[in-house]
């Protein structure tokens, strides 16, 4: 390996079709003792999380303020993981060639859906209902429980079907070239895929339609969650940009986590050949754009409340950003510190780092910014959900009292949070025992579409555009 001017190791010669098959079907499928141990530990924590959630439900559903940290944990993990498949879907729509080695890793996060569905049931049950409150559901008696559950189930279902369609050609390849247990599973899932022209055409259409459906489901699920599980609980809060902010911040933190995952796969997963500088650089640019969007969507809502000076909007600003103005000691305003943490890390620090090309154009830079964004957005979900779920009187048109006693999470809430994260990691690692983290069919296609030729005094990359 050579070292290039920016300090990262330059890639080796391009992989051949045979090397891809060898690396992605055989080498990466081996489950060693460390992996087995990790899977067992994750399964144990995820089970503990489910048990903790059940214990919380047994403790009572009448007082919704008890569930505030559960809500923070749930909506943070939901936002963090459910947007990651969009990195694969969106870039496929944009026909970005560089995304090819990374799309599968992104799409595997659709497997987080069932975990999110399981942990949604307690928070749904703890919702205080919409009677006498503002609502998008026009006094529908089954709302928000039934439509929200239906929405999430649809979203999760679309994600799983999308993932299945995406991995189908790889399952067939594993069936034909693999060995061991993964081969058996792949054979039973691959049906009659043999790669005929008609199958490929249907595969392409299917990915397009399901991808569009996933994007629509992502936007609508964020819309109803942000409204029903935060805005509705706050008297006087009417903020149509908030659902869009919720969705965009979900994308930003999701991409942040995804870059960190790529960094880990590169460093410890033996996939350095696929997660290259090119990918980190390009994702760094996307992260910059999403970081700017974070601020834009925040500011679009904030400036109207701040400028409008309407009393009920000032109360919402106090709840979500500045804390109770009656409390003179700024250190005693928890809302202020959550807000500073959110905007300081998710936007200011992240932007000041990722705006520089040398930071984006490195392996470590985007990964570090990704970590900062993941932490910053935790503060953001904390400020949104812990404050809104702390309000006792959720009816009326104006918030009269800013909650100051927001407390700390108990052991059960911490276990639930850890359980959700472990459940997601477990699902993805289990799936990776069957299908590779790098899409075989997409990378093989990339090899066909890309050629290196002499150009002027150097070499140029020729990228074929078949469509």
């Amino acid at each position: 390996m050579q070292t290039s001017h920016n300090g990262h190791e330059a890639p080796g010669p391009p992989a051949t079709q045979d090397e891809l098959t060898q690396e992605l079907i055989h080498d990466a499928r081996e489950t060693g003792p460390r992996m087995r141990r990790a899977l067992w530990i994750l399964a144990a924590i995820a089970t503990l999380g489910v048990v903790a959630a059940l214990l919380m439900m047994l403790g009572g559903l009448d007082d919704h303020t008890r569930w505030k940290y559960y809500a923070v944990g749930y909506f943070y993990v939901f936002s963090l993981v459910m947007g990651i498949p969009m990195a694969g879907i969106g870039l496929r729509f944009a026909r970005a060639q560089w995304r090819r080695p990374t799309s599968r890793a992104a799409e595997l996060f659709a497997l987080a859906g069932p975990v999110m569905l399981v942990f949604f049931i307690p928070i749904m049950a703890a919702h205080p209902g919409l009677e006498g409150r503002n609502s998008l559901w026009m006094d529908w008696r089954l709302a928000p429980w039934f439509p929200d559950l239906l929405m999430l189930t649809t979203f999760v279902g679309i994600g799983l079907i999308f993932l299945y369609v995406s991995v189908l050609p790889d399952l067939a390849a594993i069936r034909d070239h693999g060995s061991g247990r993964s081969r058996g599973i792949a054979a039973s899932l691959a049906y009659g895929w043999v790669g005929t022209a008609q199958q490929w055409a249907m595969h392409k259409s299917g990915l397009g339609i399901l991808g569009a459906m996933y994007i629509a489901a992502y936007a609508t699920t964020h819309m109803v969650f942000a409204t029903d599980y935060a805005m509705v609980l706050t008297p006087g809060w009417k903020d149509p940009i908030f659902p869009a902010f919720h969705a965009v911040t979900g994308l930003q933190m999701g991409l942040g986590l995804f870059i960190v995952v790529q960094f880990a796969l590169r460093k410890w997963g033996g996939l350095a050949r696929y997660f290259e500088l090119e990918q980190f650089w390009a994702y760094g640019r996307l992260l910059l754009a999403l970081t700017l969007f974070w601020f834009y969507f925040f500011w679009s809502g904030f400036i109207l409340f701040w400028y409008g000076r309407l009393p009920h909007e000032q109360q919402v600003l106090a709840l979500l950003a500045f804390g109770d103005p009656a409390v003179e000691n700024l250190l005693a305003r928890p809302q202020l510190w959550m807000f500073v943490g959110a905007i300081g890390l998710s936007f200011i620090t992240a932007f000041l780092l990722i705006m520089w090309n040398p930071v984006r154009r490195s392996i470590l830079g985007p990964a570090v910014v990704g970590v900062i964004i993941v932490i910053g957005n935790f503060f953001d979900r904390l400020r949104i959900y812990v404050n809104t779920w702390s309000i006792e009187q959720v009816g009326g048109h104006e918030l009269h009292h800013i909650p100051t006693n927001i407390g700390y999470p108990g052991i059960l809430e911490i276990l639930v949070f850890a359980g959700m994260l472990s459940g997601v990691a477990l699902m993805i690692l289990l799936a990776s025992r069957v299908v590779p983290f790098v899409s075989l069919w997409e990378t093989r296609e990339a090899l066909l579409l890309r050629v290196v030729r002499p150009f002027g005094v150097g070499h140029a990359h020729i990228v074929a555009k078949p469509d």
Partner: protein
């Protein structure tokens, strides 16, 4: 797929520069209709200034009418240039090459046209200066810098300055081409405009760096301009205007109308200037795909605005929505707007054959622009016609003939300026076409030859 023509540098010059050196009948014929519209508009403006604002349909409390609607619409259209040039340049979309200049120039002309509207709307245009300069030093009356009405001119003039710089820099290599092919006074003028361009590696490098820098710098301006225009409305307490989603909703609507207008312009350029070798079906296909995404994002924000107007069930807000949805003529406007902005064009654009049919793309782009103009009307007018906390009256706004003529003239003005511009400089950048020819390539995959492009790269890339 249509075979992509291979052209030599001199063929590109011949096919693109003819409008500069010749005056053909079709150029004159294209110029006449917008010129007549502009003349009619000039007469209408003269009548308005001479007679006063009573010749308009403005009244209390509907102080804002067609002029403000049209102002917002043209600001929106101006977003096309930045969208096409800046974002597509940063994303290295190869298909942008033939349409960048037309889009950028349309940005400038749309901005100029939009800026005229508040001046006309003032009735006594000279008084517009009081918004920006001290009214009376001795009385200490100053413009309120906290007012969005002051933010507007600042944002728009910044955008206009940036857009002119953007256009001018990209024009320099073409000025040099015209200079080298001209004699006499034309050579002198284009020589001065080319500023000593010889096409040295350093000049190309600087030009490239400037293009990237401007693309990145103008993006925040691009977003802020229409956001600030939206805050003209949203920062007030008028029901149905005081909505947090207005800024992104206005921006995405602007991009929707602007990119559709580029589509209209592409078809016109192909027909009037015979640019079939440069603007292909592929380009319409690519813009069509982009528009599907933009229109769907627009629909999402439209839905947010719509759904949340019923969220708090406030009487005044419901009244505005009832007016928008149930009362004539707004109910018809709402239906036409939704149909023409989304329901009709999107299912059509989802079909690849339609996206590659230039006539259909042209007419659907016209539909979108009708819809987006009506959307501005839908958003602005019904909200101020009814009694609210700060007004004591209600009245209907009925636009007058004078206003309607001025609105039509604004379309004529943008078209006329574009046609005049096309007489002076090629609407398709010759240097970008030549660069595109250098970067084009082909890759053999099995028995099929697939079109390909060369990607510049300083480092070896694995993928």
């Amino acid at each position: 797929m249509r075979d992509r023509p291979v052209l030599t540098a001199s063929q590109i010059n011949d096919e693109l520069l003819w409008p500069v050196f010749e005056l053909r009948r079709r150029h004159v014929l294209a110029f006449l209709p917008p010129f007549i519209l502009v003349m009619a508009g000039a007469v209408a403006v003269t009548i308005l200034i001479w007679q006063g604002l009573w010749v308009t349909g403005l009244n209390r409390p509907a102080f804002w009418g067609f002029f403000i609607v049209n102002f917002v619409f043209w600001i929106g259209v101006s977003h096309a240039g930045t969208m096409i040039s800046s974002i597509l340049r940063l994303t290295q979309a190869e298909w942008k090459r033939p349409i960048t200049r037309a889009a950028e120039v349309m940005t400038v002309f749309a901005l100029v046209t939009s800026l005229i509207h508040p001046v006309i709307h003032a009735g006594r245009p000279w008084r517009i200066v009081y918004w920006l300069l001290p009214y009376d030093f001795t009385r200490g009356v100053w413009p309120d810098v906290r007012s969005p009405l002051v933010w507007d001119p600042v944002a728009i003039t910044t955008y206009l300055t940036g857009s002119i710089l953007f256009v001018f820099t990209a024009l320099i290599p073409d000025f040099a081409i015209i200079r080298d092919q001209s004699t006499g006074m034309r050579r002198t003028i284009y020589g001065a405009l080319a500023m000593g361009w010889r096409g040295t590696p350093r000049q190309w490098q600087l030009q490239g760096i400037f293009g990237i820098l401007m693309s990145a710098l103008i993006l925040p301006v691009f977003v802020s301009v229409h956001s600030i225009v939206s805050w003209d409305f949203a920062a007030s307490v008028v029901p149905a205007w005081h909505v947090t989603v207005y800024a992104p909703y206005f921006v995405i609507g602007a991009v929707h109308s602007g990119v559709s207008m580029v589509l209209t312009l592409m078809a016109f350029m192909r027909w009037i200037f015979k640019l079939e070798n440069f603007i292909w079906e592929d380009h319409f296909d690519a813009v069509g795909r982009l528009l599907i995404f933009i229109a769907t994002a627009w629909l999402f924000f439209f839905f947010l605005d719509f759904a949340f107007s019923f969220y708090t069930r406030e009487e005044q807000e419901i009244a505005v929505m009832e007016r928008r949805l149930l009362e004539w003529p707004f109910n018809a406007i709402t239906i036409i707007m939704v149909m023409t902005s989304y329901v009709i064009p999107i299912p059509l654009w989802l079909n690849r054959k339609v996206r590659r049919n230039i006539a259909l793309m042209f007419w659907t782009s016209i539909l979108v622009n009708i819809g987006m103009w009506l959307e501005r009307f839908f958003l602005i007018i019904p909200a101020i016609e009814r009694k609210q906390e700060l007004t004591f009256l209600w009245a209907n706004y009925v636009p007058s003939l004078t206003e309607s003529v001025i609105v039509l003239a604004s379309f004529g003005m943008v078209a006329m300026l574009l046609i005049i511009f096309a007489k002076l400089v090629p609407l398709v950048p010759a240097w970008e076409q030549k660069e595109g020819q250098v970067f084009r390539s082909e890759v053999q995959i099995g028995e099929v030859t697939v079109p390909a492009i060369v990607r510049e790269s300083e480092e070896p890339r694995a993928w």
